[in-house]
């Protein structure tokens, strides 16, 4: 065992990269849930984003166009969900699950001819001098652009929800759609926009996986990342800053278990591999023990269908 071979600086730097896909997906899902909609299709939208972004980046040679197409792809798929749940008032849980299955299948079909291809490299932040500062340089100033985009999105969502009128309306719709409707707000319109934002974020998260973190396309490559993103939203009790914490915690555990293995720590790998999921369960149990507090934080109209009957 040689723990000194694990560099804390590099560990932090790599967990930020590892956490970016789930961070993007969970900040999008947070906005969706804040509007009172539960979209369990995150996994499906992520993987559609992964293949759409990959195909576009390979086709055009530009990772930026790839990311744009990933966001569009995720948003397009979420529109299916929006149509079914907001206009046809289908059950949100069942529709979300169907969306995941549909996304996984469709992406496998779309990706047939992209297996084993190298995507174009995306730009890394490389500031002269600053990126070379010990510790701070590798941790803060030498990542792929997506890492910063994700952080900016978290800050943006926090600011939007807390300080803008739009954010207030979105939260009102999520807390009580009837009241918001009575005040004259277009509940369905707000929700559709939130769902599409969530889809676009999930798509970006998928592309961060297929274009930056791996970078390669494989069937089912999200491998449950969408479900972790969903868990993180609950873990964070619908607060953007805590989503950041949750995503880094999950990313950290995933990277740490490989680091411990390479350092020769003789903990059976199975325990390390299941640790992120174990932590989710523990957090959910702890949170539900304080029932009132957790329940207070969940949007009151979460998962309830809205029909403007009056």
């Amino acid at each position: 065992m040689d723990l000194s071979s694990i560099s804390p600086t590099l560990l932090v730097a790599s967990l930020m990269v590892a956490a970016t896909p789930i961070l993007l997906a969970s900040i999008g899902e947070l906005v969706v849930e804040k509007s009172g909609v539960l979209n369990l299709g995150v996994e499906g939208m992520m993987i559609i984003g992964a293949i759409a972004g990959f195909a576009a980046a390979v086709g055009t040679g530009s990772p930026i166009i790839g990311f744009l197409c990933a966001a569009l792809g995720g948003a397009a798929l979420s529109l299916v969900f929006a149509l079914l749940t907001q206009f046809f008032l289908s059950n949100q849980v069942a529709t979300g699950l169907a969306l995941t299955l549909f996304g996984l299948g469709l992406s496998a079909l779309m990706g047939q001819s992209y297996i084993g291809i190298k995507p174009p490299a995306s730009a890394k932040l490389d500031l002269p001098v600053i990126s070379d500062i010990p510790i701070l340089g590798p941790v803060l100033f030498s990542h792929d652009t997506t890492v910063y985009v994700a952080l900016a999105l978290v800050a943006g969502v926090w600011w939007f929800l807390k300080y803008t009128r739009g954010g207030l309306i979105l939260r009102a719709v999520g807390e009580s759609h009837d009241a918001a409707h009575a005040l004259g707000y277009k509940v369905v319109k707000v929700r559709i926009m939130a769902i599409m934002f969530g889809g676009a974020c999930a798509g970006l998260g998928g592309a961060a996986l297929s274009l930056v973190r791996v970078p390669q396309w494989t069937e089912g490559m999200t491998a449950g990342a969408g479900w972790i993103a969903l868990a993180i939203v609950v873990f964070a009790s619908w607060k953007p800053a805590r989503v950041l914490l949750g995503a880094y915690l999950f990313g950290g555990v995933a990277v740490l278990q490989l680091n411990l293995q390479a350092a020769g720590v003789s903990i059976p790998v199975e325990y390390l591999s299941m640790s992120p999921y174990l932590i989710t369960i523990i957090v959910l149990v702890v949170m539900s023990a304080h029932r009132n507090k957790a329940a207070l934080n969940a949007p009151a109209a979460l998962g309830r269908a809205f029909h403007a009957s009056r």
Binding site: S5, I6, S7, L10, L11, S14, A18, I115, G116, K118, A121, L209, R213, V214, P215, Q216, T218, E219, M221, A223, A254, V255, L258, N259, Q261, A262, A263, G264, S266, P268, V269, S273
Partner: protein, 359 residues
């Protein structure tokens, strides 16, 4: 292509298929990854294509990709057998028991299981001596490393993988006494995300050589992004990543074997056999050693390859001790294939490797 042409060509294909059905030999392939993995499954599929090329109309092949190692594999094999397959190649270690189970139900169908050790009247086993290729890798890696840390991405702790680790280690150690191996088990044959993460972690912990026993090119991409790290193509040449980071490779060449076995089924001469060929027979190839390797290292690596090929040197030649210090092979003794302490069941590290083989 519009719907009409699709339908027309489908109808054509069907009539052609039924017309020639009687005299065709049907060969099925069960793959653990996608044919586009650029590694293990890709090479098996090249073997399948070689069979098609060799026999043309007389053979019909079918394959299923991404078959999990477990009950699903049995379902796929049964399905192939019911579709009239005469010969089925099951191309991953984890298909061993499923192959034996299905073979018992279809005594007239011949099965060929790759890298396993369970035979039956209608089940042959075949594998390649990948560890010979690993010896050449270790020889190059030991001399190329500057940090003296070599990272190794293992798939599952099975004899085939452990042989590879041991072989690479002793040959790296022979040329560089200070060399240290860091081993990460990915517990998958094919998962680019996990493989990429594992490679990145090894590089962060100081490895400047990454050896992989998993099937995707993701570790190659991670090494390329890191810069001064070298890798070796696994199962396939992975030449797209040369001359850096990929400096050489182990190439599996299944085509001659697949052609020979298909021919044997056609001629009715097929019997259950156990084949284990290495560099000499051509089943294991060493990919072009790239310009990133200095000429003298390249020359000695090629000399090692040739001595393994002509049998003048065995990759496991004593004196070699097990990890706990007990004697495995006495001076001059070479490892036997089977039996106690044989290569087929190797489940221990050799002296000098740190860590334990996971259960």
């Amino acid at each position: 292509m519009n719907m009409k042409t699709i339908l027309a060509s489908a109808a054509l294909a069907m009539s052609a298929a039924t017309g020639a059905l009687a005299e065709k030999t049907k060969v099925g392939f069960v793959y653990v990854g996608p044919v586009g993995d650029g590694g293990w499954t890709y090479e098996h599929d090249q073997g399948r294509k070689a069979v098609v090329e060799a026999f043309g109309d007389k053979v019909e092949t079918m394959y299923v990709e991404n078959v999990p190692e477990g009950p699903d594999a049995e379902r796929v094999m049964t399905d192939m057998a019911l579709k009239g397959a005469d010969l089925i190649f099951t191309t991953s270690f984890g298909y061993m028991d499923p192959t034996i189970n299905v073979a018992a139900k279809f005594p007239n169908v011949k099965f060929e299981h790759a890298t396993g050790y369970k035979q039956a009247d209608n089940v042959s086993v075949y594998s390649a001596r990948f560890y010979e290729g690993r010896a050449v890798q270790g020889h190059i890696a030991g001399q190329m490393t500057k940090s003296n840390i070599i990272g190794y991405i293992g798939s599952f702790p099975i004899p085939e993988v452990i042989r590879g680790i041991n072989s690479a280690y002793i040959h790296a150690k022979a040329v560089n006494p200070d060399v240290q191996f860091k081993i990460v088990w990915a517990y998958t044959w094919f998962d680019p995300t996990k493989e990429a993460d594992a490679a990145k972690v090894l590089i962060e912990q100081g490895a400047d050589v990454v050896l992989q026993h998993t099937d995707s090119t993701a570790p190659q991409a991670a090494a390329q992004a890191a810069g001064n790290v070298i890798t070796f193509g696994q199962a396939s040449d992975m030449a797209a990543y040369g001359p850096m980071p990929r400096v050489s490779s182990i190439i599996d060449d299944w085509a001659p074997y697949y052609i020979a076995r298909t021919k044997a089924v056609m001629d009715g001469t097929w019997t259950s056999t156990s084949t284990w060929d290495g560099i000499g027979a051509g089943m294991v190839g060493i990919g072009e050693i790239s310009s990133a390797v200095p000429a003298d290292i390249k020359a000695s690596a090629e000399a090692l390859r040739d001595s393994l090929a002509d049998g003048s040197y065995h990759a496991f030649t004593g004196p070699l001790n097990k990890q706990d210090g007990s004697v495995w092979l006495a001076a001059g003794e070479t490892a036997s294939d089977y039996g106690d302490g044989g290569l087929a069941g190797m489940n221990f590290y050799l002296e000098g490797i740190e860590g334990d083989v996971p259960n």
